[in-house]
Symmetry: C2
Subunit: 425 residues, 2 copies
């Protein structure tokens, strides 16, 4: 069985694959900012004007000249003449002269002449049109200056940013309603295997349903791509090649999930070799599950051969397909969602091999009131990471997992009680 | 300013709110499993048949009777008669009698009579129709039994499960193509504030654009809801009440973002009090930002008054709105995505108050090859958490943040160099 002559470490395999990409997709589309959640910016966004556009106060109180409040205290208040109230949503019609003040509400325009705001709680109405000030304020205290958030012409969102609720809010605040985003990455999915049938069919003895087209489609969708299914192809070089050529002409990248037998896997490698240069970059990765994964680039397009086993295909999808999609989208680096948890058992691994274990995350202690796990954690709630064992890679072990635990290549065991990092699914 | 007589701790405030919910939404809809990503199951899903449906092998090799291999070793191989090859996708037409074996590929049906599979690498073709076996196998070794993944009638996905790629795969593997999910939660959004204008308008001095309707809509969408906007309502009790009554009749819950002045915030509380029983549950939370947040339940429907400040509104949306949506969906508890990082500065806080700081997550060290942050981390990559300071809550401080750092109520400082938990945005 000279199937895998050299098994590359997963990080090296991934780096090799990404280094062969010609670069991010440059096609973009202009969409409404309100519909841009989860999309990636295709160009820098520049502020058309400063924000705030006017001097605003951040508190309820009295707009004053800071110098007028110098030395004011509880025992020695300053008295200022009240000349009016700043209306919300309008510039006040008056200016503040020395010795004067005006009532102002959070968000209101600081009148000309004034340079600070004394909070209401440090004031008192003395007599008609006179306000007692019990505390001195410094210049610009409780005042947001023009451009303190962003300045006209400043890059407010860089190309490659992911649009989240706050990014949407930032652009809306500037009156930007349209935005140029990278178009979605189109990923072709081909299933092979003489034993594989469409999920709508009832299975005969020996047949299994095509799971991979659907799990990978969901993964692609979750990662900013569009999945296009090319169906189940028989284990034939010519038919598989024709299907892959067709998929490559319509997609940015193609995933082939191989039939599970060794000969079916070899077939996938042969097909990838025939599709273009450089062809197969990696055939065999020192990882479990996923050893038979094939990474290829054919004339600038990524073609990945994933194992037929659904768990293996999906885990290797997280590890190798998602990074390609993110690279093609030109996404700026972002931290992955992880959770530190205490391992419940000893977990041995083979030296040199990277293992990925589906784990359940359990809370060993009673949950404090209000810190129900649908809400934010009460401080650092400690989770237990409980690996899900099974004879082989069974799809429901993954469906019941909260995350994946990595055993790095240089470890031969993770010990019970150790704190481990779990990648959330 | 007797605005907030008692400030509740955030966890207590959230627990009080959730305890007043009548229960999860029970309306469901039946959708295609392939379109169910991110939806929540409305009922338990039961396996219509066992999985695997037949005895399969997990390796390439020879199907044997385990007892025939007893004592086999490199120096003392066992010889078995090869009677055929198991075809992929079909039940073999033969049985294995004592002293016999058959070639079998990963995923193939283990023939009747055989109870184990010897891996190909521990065998050798001796002479025609004879195989040398160099290793003994135990009964059921390298064989998946019927029902080893799931057994017919077993609950494979519980009500309240979130549909992720693996859950989709599990149901597809069982031939389940339709699934009953909880309908999406409809959240009505009302903006108030005489200074607030629609983002398509250019602003006059003193005016700001309505950001909250859009950030909260994105948050709702991200959390499994549908946002319905009711526009910008003037600071008038009658008009705001009419708008809220209308929204409550069409939605599951309503969010009112108050104008930023104290009187506008009081108006929101008065309106919520008038909408039904018990009305305002919490008015004032010991949190920054978000002290003026109002939590209410009116005749079984949640009404939340959020501060007008966009950062404050969004952070309190994460803290109070998302848990309500998840509770209404009946979602099973799941861990939140967090990341442990080293704090770069001292961060003081007021005793008793919970603070949420937008932070940037930075990687202090050069990134190892292949562990580019678009991919999975090379072991435990340590991040630095760098709080984003700003005079007030500026929307672009949040738009440039990777996550939120919590300073718990009992802490008066988080120290530079401390490991802190960051909630990813």
């Amino acid at each position: 069985m000279p199937e895998f002559l050299t098994l590359l470490p997963p990080d090296e395999a991934r780096a090799l694959l990404l280094s062969h990409l010609p670069g991010p997709i440059i096609d973009s589309e202009t969409i409404d900012v309100v519909s841009s959640l989860g999309r990636v910016l295709a160009e820098d966004v520049v502020a058309p004007h400063s924000l705030p556009e006017f001097q605003r106060t951040t508190v309820d109180g009295y707009a004053v000249r800071a110098s007028d409040t110098f030395g004011a205290s509880d025992s020695m208040p300053t008295y200022l003449k009240l000349i009016g109230e700043v209306p919300m949503g309008e510039a006040p019609a008056f200016e503040i002269a020395p010795g004067q003040c005006a009532l102002i509400h959070t968000g209101g325009v600081v009148p000309l002449g004034a340079d600070a705001v004394v909070m209401l709680e440090f004031t008192q109405s003395a007599q008609e049109n006179e306000i007692e000030i019990f505390r001195a304020v410094a210049g610009s205290e409780n005042v947001l200056g023009i451009g303190e958030d962003v300045i006209e012409g400043q890059i407010v969102q860089a190309k490659g940013s992911l649009m989240r609720p706050a990014e949407i809010g930032g652009l809306i605040a500037l009156g930007i309603l349209k935005v140029k985003v990278v178009r979605k990455i189109i990923v072709g999915l081909i299933s092979t295997g003489d034993e594989v049938v469409h999920p709508s069919k009832s299975t005969l003895p020996g047949q299994v349903r095509d799971v991979n087209s659907f799990t990978l489609a969901a993964l692609v969708e979750q990662s900013g791509g569009i999945a296009r299914a090319y169906g189940i192809v028989p284990d034939s070089f010519d038919v598989l090649t024709a299907s892959a050529v067709n998929a490559l002409s319509e997609c940015d990248m193609v995933l082939i999930t191989a039939g599970s037998s060794a000969s079916a896997r070899d077939l996938t490698a042969d097909v990838i070799r025939s599709l273009g240069e450089p062809g197969v970059l990696v055939h065999g990765i020192n990882i479990r599950p996923g050893k038979p994964t094939i990474l290829g680039v054919c004339n600038g397009q990524v073609v990945i051969g994933l194992p037929g086993n659904p768990v293996s295909a999906l885990i290797n999808g997280y590890l190798f397909v998602v990074p390609v999609i993110e690279t093609l989208l030109g996404m700026l680096p972002k931290p992955k969602a992880t959770l530190l948890a205490r391992l419940t058992v000893n977990l041995p691994s083979q030296a040199g091999r990277e293992d990925w274990w589906p784990v359940k995350l359990l809370r060993p202690e009673p949950i404090p009131a209000g810190a129900d796990s649908t809400s934010f954690p009460e401080g650092k709630v400690e989770y237990h990471a409980d690996p899900i064992f099974g004879k082989s890679n069974l799809i429901f072990t993954l469906a019941s997992a909260d995350g994946l635990l990595r055993i790095p290549p240089d470890a031969t065991v993770l010990s019970s009680g150790e704190m481990v990092e779990v990648i959330l699914l």
